[in-house]
């Protein structure tokens, strides 16, 4: 049976992780490779690295970082942030990234999704959708959630899938950071609208929230950042809990 995936997300700035990380035993908490290795050892199913600086000057830093990560970790990983061209994607894939995550660039140039899928395969294109329930609809935001667009989440997810996206990474801005649980309704609606895997993000605060996500929506994966970084939820304990709740997970 296909397992539900647990995915820690690491925010990267200038090649270092940002936000607090309080894993014991990592001397330099800002080192993304050390943190990534720790997550692999703990049983994370996949990792997402999000470059939050994403400036042109930092492109090479990110490519170098991807090479280092690829050398050290043996599970799939996705890189996102500031990816604008097929050339950007090529450099990251060649450096060892398995997937790239597109957000604003896909909204600006939807054809980029098809270009990447056509060149590297659908499996390496993740379309990240930041959405917020406002004025009675789940609207799509770009530029890290700062800029509203005319699109709605379900319609954009369908279009992205039709253009060749291999996965949708859906973040509810209403839920992100609240630790009150995932956005179950919009996650379900997007899952039903597309035939590709959907990763739910935003709102995880407890183990029960992951159970609720997997028990009540068709989401393929749950992504979170700070609760893992701050050790509020340890991945081995989370997996064991989900397993005991009859949620199919990989227990390594």
């Amino acid at each position: 049976m296909l397992k539900k995936r647990i995915i820690p997300c690491l925010d990267i700035k200038d090649g270092r992780t940002v936000k607090g990380v309080n894993f014991l035993g990592i001397r330099d908490a800002g080192d993304p490779v050390a943190l990534a290795k720790r997550y692999v050892a703990e049983g994370a199913d996949e990792l997402v690295f999000l470059d939050i600086t994403a400036t042109v000057e930092n492109r090479q830093t990110l490519v170098d970082l991807v090479s280092n990560i690829a050398r050290e970790i043996t599970i799939p990983f996705t890189v996102g942030g500031g990816i604008n061209t097929l050339n950007d994607v090529g450099r990251l894939i060649t450096a060892g990234a398995d997937k790239v995550s597109l957000n604003s660039a896909a909204l600006r140039h939807p054809e980029l999704i098809s270009e990447i899928a056509g060149t590297f395969g659908s499996q390496c294109v993740v379309v990240a959708i930041d959405t917020k329930f406002t004025d009675g609809a789940w609207r799509v935001f770009s530029h890290g959630g700062r800029t509203p667009t005319a699109l709605q989440a379900v319609a954009w997810a369908k279009e992205a899938a039709a253009l060749g996206a291999g996965e949708i990474l859906l973040t509810s801005m209403n839920h992100d950071g609240t630790k009150n649980g995932f956005a179950l309704d919009i996650t379900t609606a997007v899952c039903r609208a597309v035939n590709i895997p959907v990763i739910a993000s935003g709102g995880a605060g407890t183990r029960q929230h992951f159970r609720e996500l997997f028990a009540t929506t068709p989401a393929s994966a749950g992504l979170a950042a700070s609760i893992f970084h701050f050790g509020e939820i340890a991945i081995p304990g989370l997996k064991k809990y989900l397993f005991n709740q009859n949620i199919p997970v990989r227990c390594s």
Binding site: M1, R5, T74, F120, Q123, C124, I196
Partner: protein, 192 residues
């Protein structure tokens, strides 16, 4: 020396990294002599079947691979190219395995992405691997089950998670991305 067959865009760096992690040097090459001389040959995955097959044919690599008598391992798309025929672009394969490659039904969520079981394990590739082990898969097409199937996965339908015929081995999952269990599969292949 391990030859990794170069035939398409895609992430083959991970395969190289995984081999390096096990202490094996490898070369990514489409040179026929180099491939024939290699101790072992890996045909990696990810990409589209018809363009990959076309590349192999243009370079004359299809005949080279068929002539190998050293152990060869196909991964993901590599496995599918080693089969008889692929529904992806209606592509004739190398015909090493007697399986056909089919597309998952439209109702399925594809690509089949994530960790899934490889069970009913047989043969040297799976020495020391628990029958409950999960491996990482990402694919939209699958090879049917035949007498050459040495591991089975179930997604919508049971399919070949691995095939073996004489010195030819292949996995649908990515051993280089499957943590400790995948590492063991690669280790088993390298010690053949």
């Amino acid at each position: 020396m391990i030859a990794i067959v170069k035939y398409n865009a895609g992430n083959i760096r991970s395969v190289q990294n995984a081999l390096a992690g096990l202490g094996f040097e490898s070369r990514v090459t489409d040179n026929r002599q180099e491939i024939l001389r290699a101790d072992k040959v890996i045909l990696p995955g990810v990409g589209e079947a018809s363009s990959a097959m076309q590349y192999l044919q243009e370079k004359g690599l299809d005949k080279t691979l068929l002539a190998l008598d050293q152990p060869m391992l196909g991964i993901c798309l590599g496995l599918q190219l080693m089969c008889r025929q692929s529904a992806e672009g209606n592509t004739p394969g190398l015909g090493i395995f007697n399986a056909n490659v089919k597309k998952f039904p439209p109702a399925a969520r594809v690509p089949h992405t994530g960790w899934n079981n490889a069970g009913q394990l047989r043969g040297p590739l799976f020495a020391g691997i628990a029958p409950t082990a999960d491996m990482y898969y990402v694919h939209s097409y699958y090879a049917e089950i035949t007498g050459q199937t040495v591991a089975v996965c179930d997604y919508i339908t049971p399919f070949s998670a691995a095939l073996q015929h004489n010195n030819f081995f292949a996995t649908q999952f990515h051993p280089e991305k499957s943590a400790a269990a995948g590492r063991q599969v690669l280790k088993n292949f390298l010690s053949l």
